[in-house]
């Protein structure tokens, strides 16, 4: 246990250094904020354009729904990327995977540690985006004090699921070429579409709604939105579930995805070793 903790700590420190030591702290803070805020502004402009040409009276509920979902999606993009890119960057970019891999540590825990710095930065980015939305864009948000513990628990569970999914992808990327960007765009895109992040599941066809209901992140986004913006009147199709039920879904799926991540990671590792792909480079 002590080795795991030490590995996690050192990997987290390494991840932080790699993320932040290329520049001055103020520039790093700016960099960490500009990307997510610009992402939110894409949606703001989409809304502005639609209102300008199609619905002059606006739709504040739809806007708040979309904005809050998008803010929390920052976690999805950065935690997933922070997890699965570890293998590819160590293997293709720094070409250090062979040394880290043969050291007497758990590479699984090392990946989690490396992702920790990304989580820390994304907490900051999510907070900035939400505060900006509330004060400058009229996003309807109100978190009751009594809901704070539940909000914290659901956030931790959501992040746990994300880490597990990231490790699953990491296991797969042991075997694939340098597809960091395709994965970074595509997998979050999957959740973007099917998890009711920006629009309710009711917009999707039936088969799309079924996929969405099978992904735990759908419930995470739903409960987060219920806690942060209880007044939004958008039909999410999940109104039949109360908060404790959704929390239960999240607990069960966190455990299930943790198990799945271990299995996929081990399988990917096994086949990569067998095929001699652990330290391959695919630079074209």
């Amino acid at each position: 246990m002590n080795t795991y903790w030490r590995t996690f700590k050192v990997a987290a420190w390494l991840g932080w250094e790699m993320d932040s030591n290329w520049t001055e702290p103020w520039l790093f803070v700016l960099y960490s904020v500009i990307k997510p805020v610009a992402g939110a502004f894409i949606l703001v402009l989409m809304y502005v354009v639609f209102v300008a040409i199609g619905r002059p009276q606006g739709d504040p509920d739809a806007f708040s729904y979309m904005y809050i979902g998008n803010s929390f999606f920052i976690f999805v993009a950065s935690v997933l990327f922070g997890t699965f890119q570890v293998i590819q960057s160590d293997r293709e970019w720094y070409q250090t995977i062979r040394y880290v891999y043969i050291s007497p540590i758990s590479y699984y825990v090392y990946i989690l540690g490396r992702a920790a710095s990304k989580i820390a930065v994304s907490v900051f980015a999510v907070a900035i985006t939400l505060v900006f939305g509330v004060f400058f864009l009229g996003v309807r948000m109100h978190l009751a004090l009594s809901d704070v513990p539940l909000f914290l628990v659901t956030t931790i569970l959501g992040l746990a699921v994300l880490l597990a999914i990231g490790i699953c992808l990491g296991g797969i990327s042991f075997l694939t070429a340098k597809h960091t960007h395709g994965l970074a765009e595509g997998i979050p895109g999957l959740f973007y579409v099917f998890c009711g992040v920006l629009f309710p599941l009711s917009v999707l066809p039936d088969w799309g709604q079924a996929i969405g209901r099978a992904i735990p992140l759908t419930y995470w986004f739903d409960i987060t939105r219920r806690l942060l913006a209880p007044t939004i009147s958008v039909n999410t199709t999940l109104g039949g579930y109360d908060e404790p039920t959704i929390l239960l879904f999240l607990v069960i799926s966190s455990i299930a995805f943790f198990g799945l991540s271990v299995v996929i990671y081990k399988l990917g590792e096994y086949f990569a070793r067998k095929a001699g792909k652990i330290d391959m480079t695919t630079s074209y």
């Binding site: 354009v49 070429a177 695919t282």
Partner: protein, 330 residues
């Protein structure tokens, strides 16, 4: 052999050498990628999901607007037409048709933006960052020792990148038409092709220029590329007509003008006009007319290619002088 024929032979040799370099550098991108079947899934199909999300947002907005128009109440028996109740069924139908038409035009804007996103990401990650990446993995010194012009090397990367990225761009267009039912109305296909290729040349010219600058910026290059994703998608109107930014008083026009320095923004505006008709969105969200935008794009293409040539020569000299051409992780 006369002096003139020696020069001609030499020129022919150099042209041939540089053309071979273009083919040689584009070859691994085209063939190498095709030898990795997982690439099609990861780089061409998966990213379509992100674009689909933006399509669904507009469909969500459209659905919400339609619900208001269709909802009959005691005070508005024919639903709401804007802020007022619809006068009769005919007016209601007119507003409904307008919502359908606007939603289709916005979805088409996203699909076109999605194709351009593919090229922009390729410019950032496979053009601009490429020389830095080559330095990191130790290929740059080999390129520098080879006798061809460095521009031929960058040209090969650009050609290979365009071909490689076309797969994703075409997938996006096909998905737009067949999955999302987008209707394009192309009245002037030759102009469309001219705008498209002028945009690509300008974009890749910009990428070639960045490639040299990234050698100077070193480790910041990766982060700079990451920083030029969402902010550029936003300021260049990849997912909405750029004219929307001019609707925001104060900072909106400033952001739009800054974003226009990326050729994709002007190119997208022209492509949208050519495929949706200049009357789409009531004709109020376009920047310039298509001919003017084509002229701007051609100007940008020439400018960026010239700047790329000079930047490359300057950075090569600088890097050699400071002895950093092959030093990694700096």
């Amino acid at each position: 052999m006369s002096a003139a024929s020696v020069r001609r032979t030499d020129l022919r040799y150099r042209v041939g050498l540089n053309l071979r370099a273009v083919v040689g550098r584009s070859y691994p991108r085209i063939v190498g990628a095709n030898r990795e079947p997982s690439w099609i899934f990861f780089e061409a199909l998966l990213p379509l999901l992100g674009i689909a999300a933006y399509v669904f947002i507009y469909q969500f907005f459209g659905g919400q607007a339609l619900a208001v128009i269709n909802q009959a109440t005691l005070t508005a028996p024919f639903g709401m037409c804007g802020s007022n109740p619809c006068a009769d069924a005919a007016q209601q139908a007119l507003y409904r048709a307008a919502v359908y038409s606007n939603t289709n035009a916005l979805v088409a804007s996203v699909v076109l933006g999605g194709t351009m996103v593919a090229f922009w990401l390729n410019v950032l990650w496979s053009m601009a960052s490429q020389l830095y990446w080559e330095k990191e993995i130790g290929n740059l010194q080999l390129y520098m020792m080879a006798p061809m012009n460095r521009m031929a090397l960058l040209g090969g990367m650009a050609v290979g990148g365009m071909v490689m990225t076309s797969m994703r761009a075409v997938s996006t267009l096909i998905a737009g038409v067949f999955v999302f039912g987008v209707v394009f109305q192309v009245a002037n296909p030759l102009m469309l092709l001219a705008v498209f290729f002028a945009t690509l040349i300008a974009l890749y010219g910009l990428g070639m220029m960045f490639a040299s600058l990234y050698l100077l910026w070193g480790r910041e290059a990766w982060n700079l590329s990451a920083l030029m994703e969402e902010p550029i998608f936003f300021s260049s109107g990849f997912y909405f007509p750029l004219g929307g930014l001019f609707r925001i008083p104060g900072w909106g026009p400033a952001v739009a003008i800054a974003g226009s320095f990326i050729p994709a923004s002007i190119g997208l505006d022209a492509l949208r006009q050519l495929t949706l008709g200049s009357t789409a969105f009531g004709g109020t969200l376009w920047i310039f007319d298509v001919t003017t935008e084509l002229e701007i794009l051609v100007g940008m293409a020439v400018l960026f290619l010239i700047l790329a040539r000079y930047a490359l020569a300057y950075l090569e000299t600088l890097a050699k002088r400071e002895g950093k051409l092959t030093s990694r992780h700096q």
